[in-house]
């Protein structure tokens, strides 16, 4: 049975924990709004871009002269996985779900006898994968210093990927991130970006004149497409992270509240027991006289 003082200390400590989680929840809510706005702002660009690329790939994609980025290298032996996670913890299952999806994918590829390499974006994913996949990790992108993910961050990652692709280091590249659905649900997503796979929007495309030429435009756009997809993934991930953190902290705040209630009841019971004891002592002392 803990003493009254011990209980008091515990209650105070849980109370300050609750204050912290409450504050983190509110910060996450504010950041979520900003992340969502950023994702919203990038959507028109991404949508138009993909529509045009989709139309182009539909008309040029099948020919032999199509760029390597679209056609692939002709083999799919070497895979590169880009795993995007957060830089900070305390966001529920956010990082674990991405890593789990990447692990499943990895296991399938390895079972098929493929070579797999991994690039991590964000500290948390690296920590998890380092334990058992340390020899597959070939690079890490650190975004911890960056407050707001910008297009240039995505461009840097894309540049690195394209350089590796040009140097013939891998055949297929897949990115892993969380798609933001709502505050309580983020969907881990795997998306193949090299060779590019665009859904044909089914739009009329024969109408357009292309300058310099269809192939020229496509060759110019494909590398940008990689950056655009990575940027979109980073933004989705950013919003998902804040959403996950918000609901995780909301749960933590509620749990702390329940704990405080329970401890307070226990504290009051013990206090009353002490008073009753004292009364009994006084009364029995008086009776003995």
């Amino acid at each position: 049975m803990p003493s009254l003082k011990d209980l008091k200390i515990r209650i105070d400590s849980v109370k300050s924990t609750r204050k912290i989680t409450k504050a983190m929840q509110m910060v996450a809510a504010a950041k979520l709004r900003r992340a969502q706005e950023a994702a919203e702002a990038s959507r028109p660009y991404t949508e138009r871009f993909n529509a045009v690329l989709g139309a182009l790939t539909a008309s040029v994609g099948q020919s032999d002269s199509a760029p390597k980025l679209l056609r692939g290298t002709g083999s799919d032996k070497r895979h590169l996985l880009v795993v995007m996670t957060s830089e900070r913890g305390l966001c529920g299952g956010f990082n674990s779900t991405i890593v789990k999806l990447a692990r499943t994918h990895l296991a399938e590829l390895v079972a098929d006898g493929k070579q797999v390499q991994i690039i991590t974006v964000g500290k948390k994913g690296r920590e998890q994968l380092k334990r058992d996949q340390a020899d597959r990790l070939i690079a890490h992108v650190d975004l911890s210093e960056i407050k707001r993910v910008g297009y240039n961050n995505a461009q840097d990652i894309a540049k690195d990927l394209l350089a590796r692709f040009a140097a013939d280091e891998f055949d297929v590249c897949t990115i892993f991130y969380n798609t933001f659905q709502s505050v309580v649900s983020q969907i881990p997503t795997a998306q193949q970006i090299i060779p590019a796979s665009f859904e044909d929007s089914g739009e009329e495309n024969a109408l357009y004149d292309y300058e310099p030429s269809e192939e020229g435009v496509l060759a110019d756009l494909l590398p940008r497409g990689v950056a655009t997809q990575i940027f979109a993934a980073l933004l989705e991930n950013g919003a998902s992270e804040q959403g996950a953190r918000m609901s995780a902290m909301d749960n933590a705040t509620r749990n702390a509240g329940e704990m405080i209630d329970k401890l307070t009841i226990q504290y009051n019971r013990s206090r009353q027991a002490v008073i009753t004891n004292e009364l009994i002592e006084i009364i029995s002392g008086a009776e003995a006289l």
């Binding site: 660009y45 871009f49 045009v52 297009y151 300058e211 310099p212 435009v217």
Partner: protein, 131 residues
Amino acid sequence: MADTMQFDLVSPERALASLKATAVQIPGTEGDMTAMPMHAPTITTLRPGVLTVTSADGTQDYYVTGGFAEIGAEATTVLAERAYPSDHEGKRAIEAHLEEARAAAEEAHPDHKDTADKLVADFVHLLDTMT
């Protein structure tokens, strides 16, 4: 004939402009072109240059670094990789891009050297046109 068309300028980070324009001058890779309403549908890539939008309220300049433009009869959409309003900030950003392009051109693979050098030249030209 319609005398205005919908014009949108979007970059990956935000939408910069969305208005009814009468003419848009676009710095295409193969030369400048002016898109007006009822233009034949065209998709062109961009080089670094000045994008001039003319609307009922006057003209507005933007600096763009690359990307592409989708021109249609009733709407023109410019998807710029980077776009800046033509002010002091924009000029500084372009100067920074020029430095980057120079550095990239220095170490460019011989096959891509021409393209990289052209990019630098375009940036220099763009800076020259700024006052």
